[in-house]
Amino acid sequence: MGFNLEAGLQQALAERPQAISRLKEAGRKVIGYFCCYVPGEIISAFDVIPVRLFRGGSEKATAAGYNYTTPHACPFTAGCIGFRESGEAPYYQLVDYLADAPVCLQVKRMLEVWHKYFGTRLIQIEFPLKYYGEKALDRYLLGLRSLVEELEKITGRPLNMEKLGFEIDISNQVRRHFIYFYELLKEDKPVIQWRDLNRAVKASFLLDKQETLSILKEWKSSLDGAVGLGTEYRGRILLTGGMYAYRDEKLNKIMAELGGDFIVDEICVGSRGVWGEIGSPDLPGIAEKYLNNVPCGSLPHPDLQTDPRIKHLRKLFEEYRVNGVIYYTLRFCDSYSFKVKELRKILSEYRIPLLHIHSDYSVSDQGQMRTRVEAFLESIGS
């Protein structure tokens, strides 16, 4: 043991904005993105720095963002506008471009706001909303090719396939490590905490991939001999739902205070963002991997039986022996909140209870949320 993951991540994250600033001064460009359908490997292959912008949890930033939308917008997207305007979050000021595959259409409109009011240049990546359609792969490939073209214009050099292969290899190694940690959570007495793992996953979207890899390697080796010697969780709870942003700590905090934690997640800033490896080290290989990811809930599917997200959830229920589900959604996130009723029905087959937390970044519902989570944990324990 001896390795302190939290301290390691904290230090790396504290130093990262300055490190990026220095690289920018040396002529490197920074591309921000919001969605996990943007392949960072391609961006890194051009020596451009990819940074995922997914901070939330700030009432102030959200309120600032509402000046550009209306108060009836998703607090995450409004917050992303607010962070850019207020300067509260350093990464939001550092980006030269925004690249995104607009899967969530509120995010797509948010990009337009950035472009119009902050002059940020946009690189829009085609992404098929009908990701299960015959032509989906072709369309996504088209989007990736246009991303490459844009990067070639920005950097003035063509895509180096060797460098791309290197970046893919690093990313795959990072993913393998994350998969290893998620596997650990399947144990009856997991040696790691989900909240630590999620911290690491979130950090990986901000840190340099090699730095992430070395932290993960250290963490992994610190666990040698300890696997299976952890403690039993207070309930085996799966976290699913919409954006569970970086610094949106309300639910995490409540869970920690009540002595609970999640056993696994199905969120885009969690397992969904890091699972699966890229096969062939080229654009079709990348397209295939990202397209075959467990789909984001913002991508509607017409058939319940064949919906890959539902299939994946069913697999998680079984593999992780889930006995409770917390479904977290932000206000005005229809893509996820409209799915709660359906999931509740599915869960009744497994006799798994579901707690739906529908919140925003205000503190006003903290007490109520705590009571509900507490009651939920108690009901699972009984």
């Binding site: 000046n67 550009y68 939308t69 209306t70 108060p71 009836h72 917008a73 998703c74 997207t77 607009p102 259409l105 509120q106 797509k108 409109r109 948010m110 337009e112 706001v113 119009k116 829009q124 085609e126 992404f127 098929p128 909303l129 009908k130 359609g133 032509k135 369309r139 088209l142 246009s146 509607p300 599917h301 017409p302 058939d303 319940l304 959604t329 206000r331 005005f332 229809d334 893509s335 909140s337 409209f338 799915k339 709660v340 009723k341 359906e342 029905k345 529908h358």
Partner: protein, 471 residues
């Protein structure tokens, strides 16, 4: 006559004979109701419309809280088509028609040409709430979907899941606007077997051919699937015939909007919005709507030529364009008129009728292009510029309202960009409003509208000009 008989049986209280006599004496007979053709091939007799209305209006207390002018030709027929929609759909399904759920932006041509009935359950359910004067459909839907769901989505969801209307399938084209609809249809998938077509998002100019080719494939797939459902071998001729019919309808709506911008305003805000909003989806029956609109537009034309203003419209009204989604709370339109203004245009439904669909060329290709060109599906910037172009074409316009429905993820993220462009390019004042369920927050809205209208009026006085100056 089955519908007629059914309705007759529902009469309670006075005997049928005395009821019929009282109807005959009713002032409604003055409204010169015309019989309507129907998509089913059978005529809808004027008497049935009249009789239906006298009964249906009793069940629609919500309509009585508004100041409506039923003397406009075609308005009774329009109200009939609206209030009888669920009954007519039942009848159509019994005759073998298949009802397909779509959402507001999707042109209806593709559905009707494929031999199906296009239905926007959200518009239907919203209208139902207005007619009944209670919001149970939306509140119930919100209980099932989300507390912050758009009221139209929530109501539409309830209408389908509670069996108030039956969909044989849904086939909306998912894409860059009305995001909530796609999730709402998805939430119905446990009940209705459905499909999604896709409208590509934001292809840059250089990719537009790929976008078009993809859209074309999606259009053909949709036609094929719907054709299988209806049992019709859909040909180019079917599509062209539908375009021709619906172009006529689109033409009427454009003309109606144009008539609203004459010196004499022929309709009050409410009658105008009801006409273009309710009619824009043809209420499941394009032939019936064609006749209805022809009567309505003719009536408006006559009013303009005779200098007869719409009921409630003041002498020199402030003329407003409503952008975003039109208010679902119809009472607000009466308030606008009371405050000395009038709504003379709506950007929202204009998306559906802004121009004809070309009859030249391959109709599948034409339709694919149309899907890609609907202004709401463009970027917010392009939408703003399109609105500015339209404003410039308008003869009289004093201010712009932009309304967001509570829970509408689309309008809320576009409001600022679109109104900023309008303000910058035209210099017109803009007011962004947020509305929710009908009859809610009307007092506060009245205050805001009053201040906005007063501001426009005083500005005009300060400039010693007149309001509604010809541009």
């Amino acid at each position: 006559m089955r519908l007629f008989d059914r309705l007759l049986k529902t009469i309670r209280g006075p005997s049928r004979l005395s009821f019929a006599i009282s109807l005959a004496k009713s002032p409604l007979t003055m409204f010169k109701i015309k019989s309507l053709p129907s998509i089913t091939g059978r005529k809808i007799p004027a008497l049935r419309i009249f009789y239906f209305l006298t009964l249906a209006l009793k069940k629609s207390p919500g309509l009585f809280q508004f100041r409506l002018d039923p003397t406009i030709g075609g308005f009774s027929e329009l109200t009939f088509l609206l209030l009888s929609l669920d009954l007519r759909l039942d009848k159509m399904r019994k005759k073998g028609f298949r009802v397909v759920g779509k959402w507001p932006a999707n042109p209806t041509d593709i559905y009707f040409a494929a031999g199906c009935i296009a239905l926007d359950p959200f518009l239907f359910a919203y209208c139902r709430m207005i007619a009944t004067g209670e919001n149970m459909l939306a509140t119930r839907g919100r209980g099932e979907l989300a507390v912050d769901a758009c009221p139209a989505q929530a109501a539409g969801y309830t209408a389908v899941t509670q069996g108030i209307i039956t969909l044989d399938t849904f086939y909306p084209f998912i894409g860059p606007w009305c995001y909530d609809s796609q999730y709402c249809f998805e939430a119905m998938r446990y009940l209705v077997e459905g499909h999604f077509g896709e409208q590509p998002i934001d292809f840059s100019g250089k990719n537009s051919e790929e976008a078009f080719s993809y859209m074309l494939t999606e259009v053909k797939k949709c036609v094929e699937t719907l054709g299988r459902l209806s049992g019709r071998q859909v040909t180019a001729e079917h599509l062209k015939a539908e375009f021709a019919l619906e172009n006529k309808l689109r033409g009427y709506l454009r003309e109606l909007m144009d008539l609203m911008q004459r010196k004499t305003v022929p309709l009050g805000s409410l009658e105008f919005i009801m006409a273009i909003f309710i009619a824009s989806d043809w209420l499941a029956d394009p032939p019936a709507m064609e006749k209805t609109l022809s009567i309505l537009v003719d009536s408006a034309r006559k009013r303009v030529s005779r200098g007869v203003q719409g009921k409630g419209v003041s002498e020199n009204p402030i003329r407003l364009l409503i952008t975003g989604i039109a208010w679902g709370d119809l009472g607000l339109y009466n308030i606008i008129d009371d405050l000395g203004a009038v709504i003379v245009g709506s950007e929202c439904v204009q998306n559906l009728f802004y121009e004809d669909i070309s009859l030249a060329g391959d109709p599948f290709e034409v339709l694919a292009r149309r899907f890609l060109e609907v202004p709401y599906t463009l970027t917010a910037e392009a939408r703003g510029r399109w609105t500015v172009e339209n404003i410039r074409k308008m003869k009289y316009i004093d201010g712009v309202l932009f309304n967001c429905n509570f829970g509408c993820n689309y309008q809320t993220t576009e409001a600022r960009i679109v109104t900023d462009i309008i303000k910058k390019e035209t210099g017109l004042p803009c007011l962004v409003t947020n509305t929710d369920l009908p009859n809610e927050g009307r007092g506060q809205m009245r205050t805001r509208l009053e201040a906005f209208i007063e501001m426009i009026r005083s500005k005009a006085k300060c400039n010693q000009g007149t309001v509604a100056k010809c541009k």
